[in-house]
Symmetry: C3
């Protein structure tokens, strides 16, 4: 039987591969660069997660993760070829939010399973969610979105805390994964729509 | 009883969290960016250190490290709010040198405990000392201070070598930690005051 | 008896240390920066490789790797002092291709030994080959060569796939290592000479 972790992980891989490939197309990379950026965005967060808890990364052990990432890239490439203009297209924003939500949830689960502290669970959820996109931004020598947008890492961190609280409160992994992903996605989309911002220190 | 490693580690976390947060305020980041930069500068070096010797990072296992980092960030934020101008303020330079010294010492100890080669001890001392600040610089897409200033990584590397020599010579961990930290701090402060530089190859 | 892995690894360390140091000299770094860039380029890929399969990095365990890296840096420095101009010098291109070929081969071997999936072997070969140079580029806040040149990572990836196929087909490690290295070097040099490029998506 397929479990919730597998479904969530596949969803995150697909969404982030597409988001990363679209970001590469926006930056006018060639086909190879688009593929690299898509695969890195998809596999980067989970690889960071696994290295931090001392596992050999799933992306290197199984072929399934990579296959899903390539499907995501292919979908994005098809979309770019069919669509006139991808700059700022809502598809990028939505698929990125789906990836963030799915990966924050799987990161929190791996953190709880590894016996991390509550803060460790929050950090692992956040890094799994934002790691792949940040690596992609660094390769493009951009300041990562996590520093440019306040409510990008914040939903993932809140989701990690919620996951931890839910498991302490007796929720099953399936319930916690689903609840976390839905909450992170909702907060992220609201933040994008409402253009939420935190104050700067000079404004204090 | 509190041991020397714990004291030194807490000192480094506090100093680097403050230094990272001040750097974020200097770069006009908003409150969230300031917190991320402070926490990352504080926890980055030790996390790199632990991953390299195959441990689950201390920052993820215990809540103590993170709590200290947040206290350091809070101190820096209070300082920024109270002070008129932080640009180039001596507090940034001193707290950064304290963090460098404390972390070079703890990195060397972890390296010796993990049975690394003498060079491995030097590298671990250096990476623990400069890792957090370099990650913060990369997020800001700046050339890391470690490449811009000659006598930033050098004191940490020399401290690592000194720590190794001291333990071979029969010093206790406490003595080696304290001696290393004091030496690294002194060399770093002298280098800043004297504006020490190495020659470029074109001048050879 | 010295085995093929040791020879290949030493060759890669020497070539990448020289290539990294020449890159640092090209970027007008001072002597310290040149040494850091050379050592990082030499040791970065293998360290990434070892961390990903859960080993303590060879660069930290033995002194041999580091010694070879410093010899490579010293050769490059001597070359810079004796030569009038290093900008775009063929020595940089050739030593870089040698490092790429040698490290792609050792990365593939470590991947097969660690029982990775075929894709995992390809990724490990690629990251071992391009990791050190990419870290050096990131420190210089440049878009890594791996994204700027299509046929930089591609030969390493193809070499990893070839290594995996060769071992499945019954080749010994020695044969697979040598065949992979020669093939990667040849493809890379042909790509440089022929200025091979992949199409961009906007041209599709």
């Amino acid at each position: 039987m397929v479990d919730a972790f597998t479904v969530m992980n596949a969803l995150g891989l697909l969404a982030f591969a597409a988001a990363g490939a679209l970001k590469g197309a926006e930056a006018d990379l060639d086909l190879f660069g688009v593929v690299v950026l898509g695969v890195l965005t998809a596999l980067g967060g989970g690889t960071l997660r696994d290295v931090l808890v001392g596992r050999v990364p799933a992306a290197l052990r199984s072929t399934a993760d990579v296959t899903v990432a390539f499907v995501g890239v292919a979908l994005a490439v098809a979309f770019v070829v069919l669509s006139e203009d991808v700059r700022g297209h809502p598809a990028l924003v939505v698929s990125d939010a789906v990836g963030l939500a799915a990966f924050a949830a799987t990161g929190a689960l791996v953190g709880v399973e590894a016996g991390l502290s509550p803060f460790g669970v929050v950090v692992l959820a956040t890094l799994t969610g934002v790691g792949g996109g940040s690596l992609a931004d660094l390769l493009l020598t951009r300041v990562p979105v996590v520093l440019r947008e306040d409510f990008y890492a914040t939903p993932a961190a809140v989701g990690g805390a919620g996951f931890w609280a839910a498991t302490v409160g007796g929720a099953t992994s399936e319930q916690a994964l689903l609840g976390t992903a839905v909450a992170v996605f909702a907060v992220r989309m609201l933040a994008v729509r409402g253009d939420w911002r935190l104050p700067t220190l000079s404004a204090v």
